[in-house]
């Protein structure tokens, strides 16, 4: 049976470290598929204007497209070039909840994320998101420093 590992990326350099670690694990395991996942931070309980609501579906598609193009697809291509089995997933939601949901659905053995030291977007994985993930995950989590 193929072992599945979920790799959470945040679009920053720290993601490369998570990816590198996941590649090593995949090579060691052998029959392994890497599910490269990007979560677009989104809450169903935010307040929006009528105009934002009107264009929300379109924006969602654009956000998914951008995440695939800029982060997920290049990572998947790199893994495939290295001879590994890989696939990309983009979801909206709370970062830790959505990563756990993807892992549960995929039947993954492990979630691999990087502890980011950068600011900006990377912060989403650092601090609350990473600790939330570690605290609430039903799947084992590896945090790459």
């Amino acid at each position: 049976m193929t072992t599945k590992l979920v790799v959470g990326l945040d679009g920053h350099a720290s993601g490369e470290r998570a990816l590198a670690h996941a590649s090593r694990l995949a090579e060691l395991i052998g029959d392994c598929e890497l599910v490269v996942t990007y979560i677009v931070e989104w809450s169903p309980f935010s307040f929006q204007t009528a105009e934002e609501n009107e264009t929300r579906h379109k924006r969602r598609e654009e956000e998914t497209e951008t995440a695939l193009e800029r982060v997920v697809n290049p990572a998947v291509a790199k893994l495939k070039a290295a001879g590994l089995k890989a696939r990309g997933v983009v979801r909206h939601g709370d970062v830790s909840d959505a990563l756990i949901a993807v892992s549960t659905k995929e039947g993954a053995e492990q979630i691999i994320v990087a502890r980011a030291s950068e600011g900006g977007f990377a912060k989403r994985f650092f601090g609350s998101s990473t600790s939330n993930l570690v605290m609430s995950s039903t799947v084992p989590v590896t945090v790459v420093s």
């Binding site: 677009v40 989104w42 169903p44 309980f45 935010s46 307040f47 929006q48 204007t49 009528a50 105009e51 934002e52 609501n53 009107e54 264009t55 929300r56 579906h57 379109k58 969602r60 598609e61 956000e63 998914t64 979801r91 909206h92 939601g93 959505a98 949901a101």
Partner: protein
């Protein structure tokens, strides 16, 4: 000429044109007011014409009968599916794969930010001022019945909206009138849609704009002292213009985020005042019930209280008006009826909770003058409303009521009023625009022309007196309800079909909550 003389002369030179300007400004406000009252008079008279042989406006009857019919036709849907509506808003039934789309919560709060506003603060004060505390009872009843009207229109709005290839959506009564009537093979849907759109544009300019600008000015003037209304109007118009024409979304986004907190703050302050006067709660409810059936000597007696209660409830929660249906149409859901369930919470939050808070605070505050001998309210000199401490009405009455308990609260209220007014204007500019583009087609020029007209009306609204503005605002919004409820009578069987199907699938367990 010494230095002091020079200074005096300079001051006189500066002051002379300034005082002339102030006089001119005063007369400009008066001219705007007179012209506006004359122009809108016939329309207002038609909408508020009494039923033959009575003093009861037919339009109030129209709204109440409509809401009652929907309540009965859907078997008290507002109570049967109330719990389910809460679960939907919490996201219990939201498919995780749809994460990132507009949620039920977001559609509800967007629609609420269009309705929660001055209707809850100023409108209720107008109702209590004219109809006495008894108006509150009828307002709550109208709110509860209105939940069924809202359910009907919002379900249809999602079901018959337009989805464009680029993923954007447009919906609202004009779309369900046209498509729904066509589906049933009935003629006249297109005509109704056009009528609705015309009234929606007027409603957007009236209640969604002029009334807001007017009361925001009244509130600001009450704090900083009297000054010409057009000045407030111009400032508001510039900011609204920046948002809706200039596309400065950050202003709208900030407002959307601040307004809910203002709402919570308002309810919180109301609760504190009510609890501080807990010994008067019984008496307040007593006068609400007594006033509802006897009028307690208010202008127009029992009927006066009833008319005011129903009118202000409709104006505040807009159930049956069709405006919120435009906002709710943006939700992507496989089951249009779920949006109907969620929308029925709106009149509850808006009228039954927030309006009642305002009414209780005004009643408890002692701002309404009671004759100690008879126990009846004292009327003002004109005999049109209850005399109040300081002769206040509208938003000023609410402000005085809050101020009598928490001295600094009028300042917070002033900020809340301005923000509420602003967010309601932004919401209604969207509703009006949707009606406008339905009539004239989507396009940059059509959109820009509406937006400019909208901004001009802000200035007119701020400059005119409350009387003509409130009459026109009510008339325009109720005119929307005339067309909308008429159409809903024909289309409600489509909603019942959806309701029956959904209810049976919910019961059988085919529709079940997602494990989150």
């Amino acid at each position: 000429m010494n230095y002091a003389q020079k200074a005096l002369l300079a001051a006189a030179i500066i002051a002379a044109p300034a005082s002339a300007m102030a006089q001119e400004a005063g007369s400009l406000d008066q001219r705007v007011n007179a012209a506006f009252a004359t122009a809108t008079g016939p329309f207002v008279s038609l909408i508020f014409a009494p039923l033959p042989g009575t003093s009861f406006p037919w339009i109030v009857m129209w709204l109440v009968v409509g809401a009652s019919i929907f309540t009965l036709y859907f078997g008290f849907v507002q109570f049967r599916f109330f719990g389910h509506a809460i679960k939907l808003v919490k996201g219990d039934y939201s498919d995780p794969n749809d994460a990132g789309e507009v949620s039920h919560f977001q559609a509800l709060t967007t629609a609420l930010s269009g309705t929660v506003g001055l209707g809850n603060i100023a409108g209720v004060a107008v109702a209590i001022g004219i109809g006495g505390p008894g108006a509150t009872f009828w307002m709550i009843l109208a709110g509860l019945l209105g939940m069924a009207s809202k359910f009907t229109e919002c379900t249809l709005a999602v079901k018959y909206r337009n989805e464009y290839p680029d993923g954007t959506v447009s919906g609202g009564p004009m779309y369900y009138m046209k498509k729904g009537f066509a589906e049933l093979g009935l003629p006249g849907g297109g005509f109704l849609a056009i009528m609705f759109s015309i009234f929606c544009i007027l409603g957007a300019l009236g209640g969604g704009n002029m009334f807001q600008a007017n009361q925001a000015h009244a509130q600001i003037a009450g704090i900083v002292g009297d000054f010409p209304g057009w000045i407030t109007g111009v400032v508001f118009a510039i900011v609204v213009f920046a948002v809706i024409v200039g596309g400065i979304k950050s202003i709208a986004q900030v407002t959307e985020k601040v307004v809910p907190f203002m709402g919570i703050l308002y309810v919180g302050a109301s609760l504190i005042i009510i609890l501080m006067n807990y010994d008067q709660i019984g008496a307040a409810f007593g006068s609400i019930f007594a006033g509802a059936f006897t009028g307690l000597g208010v202008a127009g007696g029992l009927v006066g209280a009833l008319i005011q209660g129903f009118k202000r409830a409709a104006f505040s929660n807009e159930a049956g008006v069709g405006s919120a249906a435009i906002a709710h149409a943006a939700v992507r859901t496989k089951e249009p009826i779920t949006e109907g369930f969620v929308s029925l919470l709106e009149p509850l939050i808006d009228t039954v909770v927030i309006c009642t808070m305002t009414a209780l605070v005004i009643t408890i505050s002692g701002q309404l003058i009671v004759n100690p001998e008879t126990g009846l309210f004292v009327l003002n000199e004109a005999g049109t409303a209850i005399a109040t401490v300081g002769d206040t009405s509208g938003v000023a009455l609410t402000s005085a009521a809050f101020g009598s308990a928490i001295s600094w609260f009028p300042y917070v209220l002033a900020i809340a009023v301005v923000l509420f007014a602003f967010s309601t204007m932004i919401s209604w500019s969207y509703y009006g625009l949707k009606a406008w583009t339905y009539l004239f087609g989507e396009g940059k020029t059509a959109e820009l022309s509406f937006k400019i007209i909208f901004c001009v009306f802000i200035v007119i609204g701020a400059a005119a007196n409350l009387g003509p503005v409130i009459d026109f605002s009510d008339a325009a919004i109720f005119a929307m309800a005339v067309v909308n409820i008429f159409a809903l009578y024909f289309l409600m069987k489509l909603v019942r079909r959806e309701l029956n199907s959904y209810a049976s699938r919910l019961k059988s367990g085919e529709i079940k909550p997602y494990a989150h």
